[in-house]
Symmetry: C2
Subunit: 272 residues, 2 copies
């Protein structure tokens, strides 16, 4: 593999300094039907915020999704609200032609290895068949472009929706890694936290498209090299909203990230 291939994700979330903040290119090919993936956008912004405050890792990052985003140039404005000892608190807005697309608020610091300081864990990593037994998304007839950028394997028990056989359980589990052995950084986990198909695809509800209003990621530790195990669940589809709770576990069996997003449930839609 050549050097270009090894840095596919790093290149896709690059930015350069500009007059009032940063300039970046929303890369093509990280979309679902033309709309850029929300996790990718969070990583793009998070990477600029990280550079802006000079801290290694996002610890907690909240993104509000204001408009669908297509590939092309964007501006990223960052401002540091507080430079603390443990964390820097930073706000950012991604915009194009002065129209805001995404606005974020996060705390950045330096994360360690989860295994060093696990006082209490009341959950298990998701039980998954070996990677080889979990088919890549290539079995999906309409493959979103995003899924050719990363290595993602769904648990066979959660993949029935791709054949029109949703499980009835609002859950999605699987393996995730970047292509070409590119290491999973804490920024890459922001992508992983929004890269899987929506849990609601397995819920047997008349709901297809659930636009994200807000996503908050909590990063606990830098993951060990290897595949991530991911689990996403939804318990409440009420009031026109649903939450999707995510967990990422690294190859050593440690929880490395959590997420919760609030998504809109549009009314009266046909089944997917």
């Amino acid at each position: 593999m050549d050097a270009k291939a090894t840095a596919r994700f790093a290149r896709a979330i690059a930015h350069e300094s500009a007059d009032r903040g940063y300039r970046a290119e929303v890369a093509s090919g990280w979309d679902i039907g033309g709309n850029t993936n929300g996790g990718y956008l969070m990583a793009l912004a998070g990477n600029a915020m990280r550079a802006h405050c000079g801290r290694a890792d996002p610890v907690t990052l909240t993104a509000h999704y204001l408009r669908p985003v297509q590939a092309g140039p964007v501006a990223i404005a960052c401002d540091t609200v507080k430079e603390g000892k443990a964390f820097a608190t930073v706000r950012a807005t991604i915009s194009r032609d002065d129209t805001p697309l995404l606005t974020l608020l996060g705390a950045f610091g330096t994360l360690g290895d989860a295994g060093d300081n696990a006082l209490r864990v009341d959950a298990e990593p998701p039980a998954l068949p070996p990677v080889e037994a979990c088919r890549p998304r290539a079995d999906v007839e309409f493959l979103p472009a995003l899924h050719s950028q990363v290595d993602m394997r769904l648990h066979p028990d959660d993949a029935g929706f791709t054949r029109g056989e949703p499980t009835g359980k609002a859950q999605m589990r699987g393996w995730f890694r970047l292509k070409d052995d590119e290491p999973i950084t804490t920024i890459a986990m922001l992508l992983a936290l929004d890269a899987f198909p929506p849990t609601v695809f397995n819920a047997r509800l008349p709901v297809a498209w659930t636009p994200t209003v807000e996503l908050t990621a909590h990063l606990r530790a830098t993951p060990r090299p290897g595949w991530l195990r991911a689990r996403f669940t939804t318990r409440f589809v009420t009031g026109g909203f649903l939450e999707e709770d995510g967990e990422l576990w690294d190859d050593s069996g440690q929880l490395v990230a959590q997420s919760r997003q609030l998504a809109l449930v549009p009314k009266a839609q046909p089944a997917p």
Copy 2:
């Protein structure tokens, strides 16, 4: 009861317009050992943000806690990032003498009644003994000032920590309402989501004080009049952090709010 008494919470979160935003008074008596409660501060800011954008309810609101806050005057600066059809997206910072204390990002809109649109609910409201069987916090030897401002009753099974007998389960359940029959608004739910004792008090861990880094509230519906049922749980105490997940259910048995906060777990502390 007199008119003054009926508006205890509403008065405590009032603000007035000022040169660049709003001016407010962090009321005394809403603290834990001198530090103002985080839910109260979120309600104070959320109320100003709501006024600023002219929308009825917070739908999702994220607060980053930058410094401990004592009672006294503060400035609340708000700016609207987007005026959308469904939501206005608003940022705010509470500061005193130009020092930021709390910074927030939220989406505001108009919430309905949860019962009108519950498509799927995979959980039950917490089972609680009748209110009369749940003792008020007056049984706690050292009663935080906050607990005299609201009507809060812990589930007896989760109150053992007050006698030095934590259950070992990182859970806290109970009833909540405002005093003097003041109605529970969506803004008041922000208070309820951070008013209960930390789950970790029941966890048999050498952890006492867990400062909140970030709290995100998702409000689903306007609650029916009456008591709220609350449940808070923690599953992961790792990497120097813990999450606390909250749920509020209204008197009609509907989920009305969710929350998740990220808190710091200071190292090497004596047991509470």
